[in-house]
Amino acid sequence: MIEFVLDGRSKVNTYNQLVQQVKQALRVGLLAPGDQLPKVREVAQSLAINPNTVLKAYRELEIEGLAEGRPGVGTFIKHDLARAALPNQAQLREELLAWLKRAQDDGLTRDDIRALVETTMRAGFKRD
């Protein structure tokens, strides 16, 4: 079973940190399908955080298809990360690398690129 830690100084909010740590554990192989995630009560107690936060993180993992909750027993890992991967990820990644190279050639710094991506995302996603 894995153990959660919290980075108090991180800007990422608590429940996201928990979700990220599960995903990281899956990537690295510390967690495999069938493993049980720590009980909500234990996480809330050891980290001194709101149990609802833990529930929210576990629910998010369930929505993403990574975990499933078994009432009365606990929350278990259902699928590996690779299996839950989005379709066409490899191709999107290639296209992104090409675009990044072009942006760099145009003289954009990392922060420029980040700002460009953020503002475009805001405008772009809103249209969905």
Partner: protein, 292 residues
């Protein structure tokens, strides 16, 4: 959904001075709510009204629909720990539990025994001789032994060292996870409560400044940085909570109605602390209330 605590235009006066005024709020059940504000803001007054120690001078207060004043039935559902954890100094934790079992309708002394054993607090030592952290654990255990539906804690960690503070909050979170009790705890330091609460109530000078679920409040508020703005409305901004200006630039903490599309403005997320401080600042806009 059950409402744990509801106040309707609640007011309390001491001689000519209103300690609490026109306070209307609603805390849904199952939440851990933080009550924050500077000293003298009215936090203890609100808690004492909620537990029936005080009677309102204006408006009303209800806990799970009942008026707590002089109502031992309502009190059976409320666990309360007052500021400075007042306990009978020469009683041991065992004796306090015994007293509790005699003067409460519902009491589970096993709760006290198990909790205190788990955190290593001796049951047979006079509580006056325990450390601050241990006393706080005893007070919490006693409040939980009543098996309350709502737990009210007045500055429970204010005078505890960081380790004791952490242990107390750990204990509290463990209990809430087990029992689903609603909690309202006050502090004049927000940092203590940030990771623990999912609902926030901000009081200042006896008035309500902010009230609502933390996630929604954070999602709805943003910090905008952009060219100097003298008050012209910005698309997507519902109201400006706080503004500061230089000759060229304005920094605004705003409440939004949706996405900010205006490219002039850089949009940043706010932390709960930013939000609370903005509402406590002088000249802040009218109170913000968000229904759960």
């Amino acid at each position: 959904m059950d409402t744990a605590l509801e106040a309707g235009r609640l007011g309390k006066r001491y001689a000519r001075h209103w300690a609490l005024r026109e306070c209307s709020l609603r805390v849904p059940a199952g939440r851990i709510a933080a009550l924050v504000g500077p000293n003298g803001a009215g936090k203890s007054t609100l808690l004492h009204l909620a537990v029936g120690l005080l009677r309102p001078d204006a408006g009303s207060i209800r806990v799970f629909g009942q008026d707590p004043h002089g109502n031992t039935g309502a009190l059976a559902d409320i666990g309360f720990v007052a500021q400075e954890t007042p306990l009978y100094e020469d009683f041991t934790a065992e004796e306090l539990s015994r007293a509790g079992s005699k003067i409460n309708r519902r009491w589970d002394s096993e709760v006290v025994r198990q909790r205190l054993t788990r955190v290593g607090v001796p049951m047979g030592k006079a509580v006056g001789k325990l450390s601050g952290g241990q006393r706080a654990q005893v007070a919490l255990a006693l409040a939980l032994a009543k098996q309350p539906r709502l737990l009210l804690l007045d500055e429970p960690v204010a005078s505890l060292d960081p380790l004791a503070r952490k242990e107390f909050l750990q204990s509290l979170m463990g209990s809430v996870a087990e029992s689903g009790t609603s909690v309202l705890l006050s502090s004049h330091l927000l940092a203590d409560l940030e990771r623990v609460c999912d609902y926030v109530i901000v009081l200042n000078s006896g008035r309500l400044r902010l009230c609502g679920p933390v996630d929604d409040l954070i999602a709805e508020h943003k910090q905008l940085v952009g060219p100097r703005n003298g008050g012209t409305p910005i698309a997507g901004v519902r109201s400006v909570i706080r503004a500061s200006h230089t000759d060229r630039q304005s920094t605004l903490l705003v409440r939004t109605t949706g996405e900010i599309e205006d490219p002039d403005w850089a949009v940043h997320d706010v932390t709960l602390e930013d939000l609370v401080l903005a509402h406590l600042a002088e000249g802040a806009a009218e109170a913000v209330e968000v229904a759960a």
